[in-house]
């Protein structure tokens, strides 16, 4: 660890509270955060959506959106400057000299009408320095790229430009807000490496904000886990990942899908939120989802204390701690702190408790001798390059035609589940769409068994017609059958029951459902008349990890019950391994590797597959 405890910290937050107003409602976004970022240290800030992690980044920069009328309590100091009460010029000077920022989406974070050289120079001062920086962040031909506009660069290059802007002026702290989320997995790894190199080379500290513990684990020295605007647990990366002491951290680690997740067990999930905001704000915010919650968790907020202090078991298995214990002791960077009433032993005992992971019954054996469910022969799809998708980098603007699929062959047996893995632009979604009949093939053929294809889309919200009720949407599938009214009702009720939703949902419009519920409805519509093949196009990539796991569980369960054939497209190898009997690896419109899941993951043959596997952020098998 490149920390020196004597120097003043790069940034410090103490007792930070923040409330924002949205749609006329004020809500507490941060509720008391104490954190110090030492010089040269990389701190991973991990939390689900809604945990307040992105707002924290804006607060550090002194750029809270004044439209939301922020009310800040406590203190934020960056390089000795008070970022809450400082004068505007002071804050600007801090941003100019001490801070660098990398945002999530490099496309929208760069000015579309300004040459990238100018954008870097705004931060660096001179164009010579900008050239040097662009080269330093690994942009080849920096002189050539200097005069291009952001839309002429690929996503990875854009994020490098952001990095060059961030390190301009040798900042003492770089704030990276989900810097890899919008990028392909191989590019992700490069950007993380870049962040570490920047730290090593320039000696700056880094705050890495991410929703993925493993991404933080790749480069962070310390990890702080955020839940509902408070730090649940903070400590050295190795300890947090391998010996977590907070039930939420444990839950996150357990529900995280990895290449080591058991394939023959149901995926573990966090308990869904059931409490009202008022209930959660009273005690520990996590108590409504916590399997270890006791009465005290409901009524009293646990303080963030060193695990050594907070380990002694008291009465009833709770931490023997009273409110009069000193809570203002300064915590060094190497400390491991937690905010939980249960003892460390209780929590760690729970890690190894696998009771809630039900084993799966053996999978359906593909029936020998039957017609294949899907047979794709010499499939080619060519697009005329008309609408230049915003996120896709138009690196080769000369190309007028894009060959999305180049002579593909694939056979899927009935009852088989096949995962298709690839990065953006690999053609994996196009293949799925051609099989579903949504995109016409340029040449070649697709043959489906009787029953046709049904599809579950990435964004469930937009795949459900907003002004129709769930009942009407489901009923549409039944219309061709010409059943009676009562029979229709019965089938809709049965479908809702099968996805674990109450029957009253039939009268509700999609906007009133949560993201996970909508994806369940989409799944019910696809499977209420079992199709020959169920096509899944990244159905969980827009969901938080734990919700994703529950949807994946449901798909696997339905597949078992209906003996359904499944084609599952994903960019995530660990999901592919869990969902498919076989894995198909695609890149640039071609299949480069096909094999059983175990073979592809454990004995990859194609160099591209190996590269993909090497880029997957992993924690290691401890939990």
């Amino acid at each position: 660890m490149a920390t020196s405890t004597d120097a003043p910290p790069a940034a410090s937050l103490s007792g930070l509270t923040l409330s924002l107003e949205r749609d006329g409602v004020r809500s507490d976004v941060l509720r008391g955060i104490d954190l110090e970022i030492a010089r040269g240290e990389i701190v991973g800030l991990v939390g689900e959506s809604g945990s307040g992690k992105s707002v924290l980044a804006l607060a550090l920069m002194g750029l809270l959106p004044h439209r939301s009328h922020p009310e800040v309590g406590g203190a934020i100091r960056v390089a000795g400057v008070d970022m809450v009460h400082g004068r505007a010029e002071e804050l600007r000077a801090v941003r100019r000299n001490e801070l660098g920022v990398i945002f999530q989406d490099p496309m929208t974070s760069l000015n579309p009408t300004m040459r990238i050289g100018d954008q870097v120079t705004e931060a660096s001062g001179t164009s010579e320095e900008s050239l040097r920086l662009l080269t330093a962040v690994g942009i080849a031909d920096a002189e050539l790229r200097f005069r291009v506009y952001p839309h002429e660069l690929s996503g990875g290059l854009r994020q490098r430009v952001m990095a060059a802007i961030a390190v301009a002026g040798r900042p003492s702290l770089i704030i990276a807000d989900e810097p890899t989320t919008a990028l392909d997995v191989t590019v992700q790894a490069q950007v993380l490496d870049l962040l570490r190199e920047l730290r090593d080379e320039f000696g700056c500290s880094v705050v890495l904000i991410t929703h993925d513990l493993a991404v933080a684990g790749q480069i962070a020295d310390r990890i702080a886990v955020l839940y509902a605007g408070r730090i649940a647990e903070v400590g050295p990366t190795g300890e947090v990942l391998h010996a977590p002491t907070h039930p939420y951290t444990v839950g996150l680690l357990r529900s995280r899908l990895s290449l080591g997740t058991p394939r023959d067990q149901e995926l573990r999930t966090l308990r869904p939120e059931t409490g009202t905001p008022a209930e959660r704000m009273l005690g520990c915010a996590y108590h409504t989802r916590c399997p270890l919650a006791v009465e005290r968790c409901r009524v009293e907020q646990p303080p963030l204390l060193d695990i050594a202090l907070a380990s002694a078991p008291g009465i009833g298995g709770e931490v023997a701690l009273t409110a009069d214990l000193p809570t203002d002791e300064r915590l060094g960077p190497a400390d491991h702190d937690r905010a939980c009433w249960r003892t460390v032993d209780d929590v760690q005992g729970f890690i190894h408790d696998t009771a809630n992971a039900a084993p799966l019954t053996s999978r359906v054996a593909p029936g020998p001798g039957r017609e294949p469910a899907v047979r794709v022969t010499d499939l080619t799809v060519t697009f005329a390059l008309r609408q230049n998708r915003r996120q896709r980098g138009a690196g080769s603007s000369a190309a007028r035609e894009v060959r999305a699929l180049r002579g593909l062959n694939l056979t899927v047996e009935p009852g088989e589940a096949v995962s298709i893995v690839g990065e953006s632009g690999s053609g994996k979604s196009t293949l799925l769409r051609v099989i579903g009949g949504l995109t016409p093939a340029t040449s070649g053929s697709v043959a489906l068994a009787a029953g046709g294809a049904q599809m579950v889309f990435q964004d469930a919200g937009s795949s459900l017609t907003p002004w129709l009720t769930v009942g009407e949407l489901l009923g549409e599938r039944l219309a061709p059958l010409g059943l009676g009214r009562t029979e229709n009702r019965a089938r809709i009720d049965r479908a809702l029951t099968s996805i674990g939703l109450p029957l009253s949902v039939a009268r509700v419009r999609p906007a009133e459902l949560s993201g996970g519920q909508r994806q369940r409805v989409a799944l019910a519509r696809a499977t209420m008349i079992p199709p020959a093949v169920l096509l899944c196009d990244e159905p969980t990539s827009a969901l938080d990890a734990s919700l994703a796991a529950s949807v994946l569980n449901l798909i696997r369960e339905m597949r078992r019950e209906l003996e359904m054939t499944v084609l599952f497209v994903t960019h995530d190898l660990s999901v592919a391994r869990l969902m498919g009997d076989r894995i198909v690896v695609m890149t640039q419109g071609e299949i480069v590797e096909v094999g059983t899941s175990a073979d592809v993951i454990e004995r990859p043959e194609h160099p591209y597959t190996r590269r993909l596997l090497a880029s997957v952020p992993e924690i290691g098998a401890t939990v």
């Binding site: 409602v25 959506s49 809604g50 579903g436 949504l438 795949s463 949560s514 519509r525």
Partner: protein, 288 residues
């Protein structure tokens, strides 16, 4: 920072939001009610008008507030309130006719183009863009001048140049909706083309169309008044707001109410139409 999924959206929206929306909606309903009131006024203008608008009925050039003539009389003794009420009726219904016909023509062409795509889309939109690229008001003037001056031809002239705007917007909405996954999902679910258009696409277009149209009524009121001011409307002595101002310009410095009252009536119509349009937008919230 969106709390997708963790909490159902209902839980994330505690009391104050709804309360605030309700007051906003209350005001919007009031604005829409104002439009309804104006429409009633226009419908019953003939019953409400105290005198024949064309016949000289009282003393010449009475100022507003005179006992028998609330808004006064013009220089030949016609009752200004009666003329204004008749004028409001003509202007208001003419504007509605233009907007509704624009909506119908533009709606059909826009929907056709958006749904059909390809060659038909191209053809229809080229045609539409052509109209949009020409200066509409001037073309309308030329059309009325060629066909002859009367209300019917004025409506034809404005109608011809007014629909392309709607065609563009509706085609854009149809296209945007048609490319959404829910339409593909409906296709996979087995819905036929007609069902997709009428059940999965058009219901989403209607709010935008209504909002666009209601915000547009005021513009048409102004355009009609302008053309009428230039003499491209009903011939004298028929009461018409724009023309009544133009014909009495000479009295501006001596008896200003005579030319100003019809102009203020136009302002009233246009203001109410705009406020009502804003109300409609708040109530049903089109996407644009």
């Amino acid at each position: 920072m969106s709390a997708t999924g963790i909490v159902s959206p209902r839980l994330r929206m505690p009391g104050p939001v709804r309360a605030r929306r309700r007051t906003g909606r209350g005001l919007s309903w009031a604005l829409v009610a104002l439009v309804a009131l104006l429409t009633l006024l226009a419908i019953f203008a003939r019953l409400l008008a105290p005198y024949d608008p064309v016949q000289p009925i009282g003393a010449l050039s009475l100022p507003p507030g005179s006992p028998d003539h609330l808004l006064g009389t013009d220089s030949i003794g016609r009752d200004l309130l009666s003329r204004t009420l008749y004028g409001i009726q003509v202007s208001w219904f003419a504007a509605l006719v233009v907007v509704v016909s624009g909506l119908v023509i533009g709606g059909i062409i826009g929907t056709l183009a958006g749904v059909a795509g390809g060659f038909i889309d191209n053809l229809l939109m080229r045609f539409t863009d052509l109209f949009l690229a020409l200066p509409g008001t001037l073309v309308a003037i030329a059309i009325v001048a060629a066909l002859g001056y009367n209300l019917q031809n004025t409506l034809i002239g404005i109608g011809v140049v007014w629909w392309p705007y709607y065609a563009r917007i509706i085609r854009g909405e149809v296209k945007a909706l048609a490319s959404r996954p829910h339409v593909e999902a409906a296709r996979l679910a087995g819905a036929g083309p007609a069902r997709i258009v009428f059940r999965h696409v058009l219901p989403g277009v209607i709010p935008t169309a209504i909002v666009t149209a209601s915000l547009d009524i005021g513009n048409v009121v102004l355009l009609l008044a302008g053309l009428s001011f230039l003499g491209l409307g009903q011939p004298a002595p028929a009461p018409e707001l724009g023309a009544d101002t133009a014909r009495n310009l000479g009295q501006l410095l001596t008896e200003p109410w005579i030319p100003l009252i019809p102009g203020l009536a136009v302002l009233l119509l246009s203001l109410v139409a705009n406020l009502g349009g804003d109300g409609v937008r708040t109530l049903i919230g089109g996407r644009r």
